[in-house]
Amino acid sequence: MTAKRSWVAHSPVAAVVLPVIGLIGAIALWWLAVIAFSIPEYLLPTPKDVTLTFFEQPAYLLEQLWVSFLETVEGFLLSIVVGVPIALLIVRSVLLERLVYPLLLMLNSIPKIAVAPLLVIWFGFGQGPKVLMVLLVCFFPVVISTAQGMKSTPAELVELMRSLNASRTQEFFKLRLRFALPQIFTGLKVAISLAVIGSVIAEFVGATEGLGYVITQSGASADTSLAFAGITLLSLMSIVLFYGLVWLEHLLVPWAEENR
């Protein structure tokens, strides 16, 4: 009994096999439910329907996926380019913190979906407003986590750098920024999940391409299988992006896993 339990908890094989069994079980249950209660396809398609729909037009769907992917990644990268310097400035100057921080809070309190139509009015139907939406959604977690991380440097290490006559630049790059990295990554992982949501929201409103657009269109024609295919592709993209970040974190800050 105990041996079985420890296999479940500790075996690396179990760590892969068990989730797969869970996933297959869930899909089987879904399929079974559709057949057992004879649910029509426009309400709930079977896994088979979804797969078939995807293979009816794979090139088109992958193209739309690529559009959404680019918007998401561009907006996410932009949020780092904009957010990290702002966080650094906030940490550096109390005056700026007092001036800007409440504004940021206000900006964050706006429901982003409400802004989507405005973005279309201002910037049209292209990719620009989508990237901007992703930026808006990602920006806040990036700023907050970077600012927190920059403030988390232990006092003793700051004193050590001072006792070694380190310049401010050295102290910044060799100590503070390095120390902030784990917390920055925490923020980035929150942001990347939000980024996918942001691009889909933006594509719901005034778009001509992207998976968000595909899903709204499929709703209009009651093509539920197509919507499911789009949603599945979006989830896969989200998972790949998230674990890409986890992998990058593992490469850049291997020391953090044991430290916190």
Binding site: P154, L160, S163, R178
Partner: protein, 267 residues
């Protein structure tokens, strides 16, 4: 080597001014091992930071090697209570940090060799590539010791470096430091609240009394080296000096040091 004249330190705290140190006159000779001993809050760490140039004194003058201290010096190293290692750097690169930060330092390969020698000296050969979190507390503090020795400092300032370690490791490291000190001509000022450490390590122990930190007495410790706390130690001498330090540290503080306002305000 180190000269303090009429040094005083006042902090502006939330509850008004706090006099941390008052009228400190101290002369540490070259090659001498001096411990500053006292209860917590007697300003001994503050005194060490004044010598390190991490803090300017409110009054009086601090001189190292005949020059007034204006900031941290390259020939003075500081060792902290905690190892203060950078968690993403290997043991070796932590030891080499002071050299890396010094833009004037040359001969980096020489320093690399020195780092290996130092690590070997404290029994850490083979651990050069490890990260700090893979080491025990005692090993981390040994790395920190190597780091403070890497630039062959004239003066080493040590702020309760072994106090966070378990008793056995602490004794071990004290004896190791004593051994290292016997080979080097470095001047060491060592802050502690442990009578044991003071007796094993110091040529002179400076006893400080708290609030405000004043010098109570300087106790000469003339027990032959190497000193140990184990068998064959000069037990009588150790007992005599330990007793004396204990007596000085246990003295009741003057009544004017008691601050009733603290209690009244916290209600």
């Amino acid at each position: 080597m180190i000269r303090l004249d009429g040094v005083g330190q006042v902090f502006d705290g939330r509850e008004g001014r706090i006099t941390a140190l008052e009228k400190i006159d101290l002369h540490v000779h070259a090659g001498e091992f001096v411990t500053l001993i006292g209860r917590s809050g007697c300003g001994k760490s503050t005194l060490l930071r004044l010598i390190a140039g991490l803090l300017p004194p409110t009054s009086g003058t601090v001189e190292v090697a005949g020059e007034p201290v204006t900031g941290p010096r390259a020939d003075v190293s500081f060792m902290f209570q905690r190892p203060a290692l950078l968690p993403w750097r290997s043991v070796l690169s932590n030891v080499l940090l002071p050299v890396e930060l010094d833009r004037q330092a040359r001969d980096r390969t020489t320093y690399r060799d020195l780092a290996h020698t130092l690590l070997e000296m404290v029994g850490l050969q083979g651990f050069e590539r490890r990260l700090p979190h893979e080491l025990s507390g005692g090993m981390q503090q040994r790395v920190s010791l190597c780091r403070s020795l890497i630039r062959s400092p004239q003066v080493m300032l040590m702020d309760e470096p072994f106090s966070a370690l378990d008793a056995l490791t602490r004794t071990e490291l004290s004896e190791e430091l004593q051994r290292i000190k016997m080979e080097l001509s470095t001047t060491i000022v060592f802050v502690t609240h442990s009578i044991e450490e003071a007796v094993v390590l110091a040529d002179r122990a400076v006893v400080l009394t708290p609030r405000p930190g004043r010098m109570r007495e300087i106790v000469e410790i003339d027990i032959p080296r190497p000193r140990t706390l184990g068998p064959n130690a000069h037990l009588e001498d150790v007992a005599r000096i330990s007793g004396r330090l204990h007596g000085l540290l246990a003295e009741k503080t003057a009544p004017d040091d008691v601050r009733p306002t603290d209690k009244v305000r916290s209600r």
